[in-house]
């Protein structure tokens, strides 16, 4: 791209949050993800938050049909998709109405004026046209004929009027590329690949993209374009990655690191379906994906594959975990390795399928009949899903136990740049097997209380297992009262002993602070930005983040008892708080918002300030 800037001013910014919003059929997710990819390639740190309705095509023009893609990019190290947008691209009145309350003061608003018709305004329930009635005063508003200019640019393509209008998101994307000085080539390359079988669409979308870009260049009301320098990221190779992508890749990596074929038994469910989709494309890595008839078949077939010696996993979201409950208990009883990935969404019941929440922690911990302890892990960021997928596989295989790995809709769909690890940074996963057929006992145990794995089909180790209580050592069916008590304790202790092999909690921030902010899973970004912000303002604040929840790291009690105030922000009604209170008998302050949205870091900052300024101090 030539650097034609004409007489337009170039202003440097360190940090921008953009929201692309339109109808769920307007292609906003595509526009946002293209802008993200290009932004990653130019070297900014970034974090994204796609927010879309559960309906595939909700009635056009309505508020509940608005699909948004929020993107935060910066020349600095960032951890969240940004609290409030600096720039809103609104493709229709409903998109404007929905996002206006959340915009920064003086934010830039680019609207598709062609959609501000009486009908469009009525669908968005506007009494009068906000572009004319002064209600947008204080904002920097740019009304652009996005639809009409797209129609003009594509009138000679021979496409139908309907198809032409569908390219308008590329016009908006081109305009944003101009505004933020991004190259067009990465998107042009993507379009050529994506529409390889439809050359007419390649031509149309690239024309629309360029038309938007040139419009920015020539339109008089755009006087300034912005430059965001590359962030100072650690040296290495990078790619942009979402949590679901990282989860899928992490399990393929775990398969390579353990030398075991990967088996995924799963059933499509929002927001976890992508894991099944991604993994089904890895056939050349030997990956077996079985799209089962239901959630139960997904997990039960996974237990079968584990019995037969595979690295066996199943993926789901909250309601699916509820359906898998009985089978997870079977894996506890048969002491087979298995990973259950739960991409948490808003609940209860069907709840908010496309929104995020952290309210399945206690379900993961306790949601089974009987005393049925499992390992519970949680990933903290999109790229951390890669690490935790490998960790959950390692623990499952080395400790012969089901592991529940919790992610959430926010980190599953959100993207960030990921420094790709070097091969030698990834530790091999050593797997041991029963080796002495003469003295083989299916429920004998090593010093970590782990029973030997003799995958079905191995000559000489033929044995039977099942859901009935097992006699210790022999694995025979047993109804003996004392044996049952012993086995319940052994299964519990086996999980507790894993604490010897997991990293201790690491306190970040001020070790001598009065307040410790404690988080787990996907709130890592919001809490980290809040703590960083508070410390920059001179407050002493410390932070710890749990990725291992059952068992908890060995230094948990010591760390928690070193601070006067413990604040636990969670997107639930206090589930980690409940675990900590019951386990360590220490008072904690809860901060709970269950809106289907991630925390804003400013909300956590305010809560901390309230505590520090309050009479408890």
């Amino acid at each position: 791209m030539s650097e034609e800037v004409h007489e337009k001013k170039v202003e440097s910014l360190s940090d921008v949050t953009v929201m692309f919003a339109g109808d769920s059929g307007d292609g906003m997710q595509l526009t946002g993800s293209q802008f993200s990819s290009t932004t990653a390639l130019v070297g900014n740190d970034l974090n994204t938050f796609p927010d879309y309705p559960a309906e595939i095509r909700a009635p056009a023009g309505t508020i509940y049909g608005v699909s948004g893609f929020q993107l935060h990019f910066s020349s600095k190290d960032i951890h969240t998709p940004g609290d409030s947008p600096d720039v809103l691209v609104a493709m229709n009145p409903a998109a404007l109405k929905k996002n206006l309350p959340n915009l920064k003061k003086h934010a830039m608003i680019i609207v598709n004026i062609d959609a501000f018709t009486p009908k469009g305004l009525k669908l968005a329930k506007y009494e009068s046209n906000p572009l004319e009635d002064g209600s947008l005063e204080g904002f920097d508003v740019f009304p652009v004929h996005i639809t009409k200019m797209t129609e003009n640019a594509l009138k000679d393509t021979g496409l139908s009027p309907k198809d032409i209008v569908r390219s308008k998101n590329f016009f908006a994307l081109g305009l944003m590329y101009w505004l933020f000085n991004r190259p067009l080539e990465p998107t042009m390359d993507w379009v050529k690949q994506k529409f390889a079988k439809h050359p007419e669409l390649i031509d149309a979308n690239i024309k629309a993209l360029k038309a938007g870009y040139h419009f920015g260049d020539t339109a008089e009301f755009f006087t300034t374009r912005y430059k965001i320098s590359p962030a100072k990221l650690a040296p290495g190779k990078y790619r942009s990655i979402s949590g679901n992508q990282a989860t899928a890749m992490g399990f393929v990596a775990a398969s390579q690191l353990s030398g075991l074929q990967l088996y995924l038994g799963s059933y499509p469910i929002t927001p976890a379906s992508e894991i099944l989709q991604y993994l089904s494309a890895y056939r050349n890595y030997g990956v077996i994906t079985f799209q089962a008839e239901d959630e139960i078949a997904g997990v039960v077939s996974t237990i079968g594959a584990s019995f037969a010696g595979k690295l066996a996993i199943t993926s789901t979201s909250g309601p699916g975990l509820a359906l898998k409950t009985e089978a997870v208990g079977l894996a506890v009883m048969t002491e087979l390795p298995m990973v259950v990935i739960n991409v948490q969404r808003g609940g209860p019941s069907t709840g908010l399928p496309t929104k995020t929440e952290q309210a399945d922690l206690l379900q993961a911990m306790y949601g089974r009949n009987g005393e049925a302890p499992v390992v519970v892990l949680a990933a903290s960021t999109p790229s951390d899903c890669f690490t935790m997928a490998i960790e959950s596989s390692r623990i499952a295989l080395q400790h012969m136990t089901p592991v529940i790995l919790l992610t959430d809709g926010y980190i599953a769909n959100g993207t960030e740049p990921w420094r790709i690890p070097e091969i030698d940074e990834l530790k091999k996963i050593e797997v041991s097997y029963a080796s002495d057929p003469e003295n083989f006992q299916p429920y004998a145990r090593d010093e970590k209380l782990v029973r030997p794995w003799a995958p079905a089909g191995t000559p000489g180790f033929e044995h039977r297992i099942g859901g009935l209580e097992k006699e210790n050592i022999t694995g025979d069916v047993s109804y003996d009262p004392q044996n049952h008590d012993d086995m319940c304790r052994i299964r519990e202790e086996k999980i507790n002993l894993i604490a010897d092999e997991i990293p201790e909690l690491e306190v970040m921030g001020d070790k001598d602070a009065d307040i410790l902010v404690v988080g787990w899973g996907g709130t890592y970004g919001s809490i980290t930005d809040a703590v960083t912000g508070l410390r920059e303002k001179g407050h002493k604040v410390a932070q710890v983040h749990f990725k291992y929840i059952n068992p908890m790291p060995k230094n948990t009690e010591e760390v928690l008892k070193s601070y006067k105030h413990i604040l636990i922000p969670e997107i639930n009604h206090g589930q980690l708080a409940t675990l900590i209170k019951s386990k360590y008998l220490i008072p904690v302050i809860q901060f709970n918002l269950v809106r289907g949205l991630p925390f804003k870091s400013s909300e956590i900052e305010e809560k901390v300030l309230e505590i520090l300024g309050g009479k408890n101090d």
Binding site: S37, I420, G466
Partner: protein
């Protein structure tokens, strides 16, 4: 892993397939006969102990794996086909046998059953059909006849029963057969054919529950009556039955009817000939509906036996094809996917 027997490995006896665990079915239960025929069949086929894997759900029949010396998994209620699917896809060279009952497979596990059939999962599924819930002590099951008086239907069951053969055919199972606990030779023949079949093999076994549904299959098992009530299906053979083999089945439109071959009204040439390999499945459907019919004999034997690519074959074919095309994936290739940029 291998499912071939090499020269040195000795051929096992039926007894070698017994785990030695005390069998805890009620005395006189039809399950004993099935266990014995399965052990005989495994020995006759020449399986080694590590080869066949026996999977069950919950119910009386589902204790089966504990009595076998092979790998076995006693799963949870209704889920045996799903459990077996995971095992089969993981170990494509091993025969996987599912043992289940009418409550397990037709009620709570109905969904898994029809989808295993639909996908042509290479599983041998044995349905021990005693038309009653035994382990929970005598409630009506999805194969109990309408009007049956049980503990949960004191005024008679108001449910219509499933016809498991029709259900399997409707779900496109590639091998569908029926046998009876009282007919050991016939059962062995059917089990051998099921073992030979590549793809879903469904075998319904009429099984007498001595405690809660004793005599449910009496007309089919009593020496006096069975010849007139059973139709032994044989591939390529006309459908004749009766003590003197003097009754035949002919089609009137879509309806099978019984004709007398002695009174001169019909000749053997008019009698319907069985074709188990009939691709359309129409004949098998007609035969399936002859079950429990007041005027028609109940067929036993192989209803359908056709060869189609199995789910597992297709899966591994695809793995090979994609690997051939894209090259074998490694950690290196995995970590070099996507749009990568470098920060110095």
């Amino acid at each position: 892993m291998t499912d071939k027997i090499d020269a040195q490995t000795p051929k096992l006896t039926p007894k070698d397939f017994s785990s030695g665990a005390d069998v805890r079915w009620c005395p006189g239960c039809g399950d004993y006969s099935i266990l014995a025929q399965v052990q005989r069949t495994f020995a006759k086929i020449g399986y080694q102990k590590h080869e066949p894997i026996v999977i069950s759900g919950i119910g009386c029949s589902s204790r089966f794996p504990y009595y076998m010396s092979t790998y076995g998994f006693h799963g949870i209620h209704g889920r045996a086909p799903a459990l077996a699917t995971g095992v089969k896809l993981a170990l494509p060279d091993h025969p996987v046998w599912v043992v289940s009952g009418d409550g397990d497979l037709m009620s709570i596990g109905g969904n898994h059953f029809i989808h295993a059939c639909r996908k042509n999962m290479d599983l041998k599924m044995l349905l021990f059909n005693n038309r009653i819930y035994g382990l929970t002590k005598g409630q009506y099951s999805p194969t109990s006849e309408k009007g049956k008086i049980t503990k949960t239907s004191p005024y008679g069951s108001i449910d219509y029963p499933f016809n498991p053969i029709s259900l399997a055919l409707g779900s496109n199972s590639t091998f569908v057969a029926r046998t009876i606990d009282h007919e050991p030779k016939h059962m062995q023949m059917v089990l051998e054919k099921a073992a030979e079949h590549v793809g879903t093999a469904f075998v319904e076994i009429f099984q007498n529950c001595v405690i809660f549904n004793h005599g449910a299959f009496n007309p089919l098992t009593d020496k006096e009556t069975k010849e007139d009530h059973l139709l032994y299906l044989e591939d390529g053979q006309p459908m004749v039955f009766g003590k003197n083999k003097d009754k035949g089945i002919v089609l009137k439109g879509f309806e099978p009817v019984v004709v007398d071959l002695n009174d001169g009204s019909h000749s053997i040439d008019e009698v319907l000939v069985h074709h188990e390999k009939d691709e359309s499945g129409i004949l098998a459907f007609i035969l399936a509906h002859m079950t429990d019919h007041p005027d028609l004999p109940t067929p036993i034997g192989v209803f359908r036996n056709v060869r189609k690519e199995t789910y597992g074959e297709a899966l591994y074919r695809q793995i090979d094809e994609v690997t051939e095309k894209k090259g074998k994936g490694t950690l290196e290739t995995l970590l070099s996917e996507g749009n990568i940029w470098e920060v110095k």
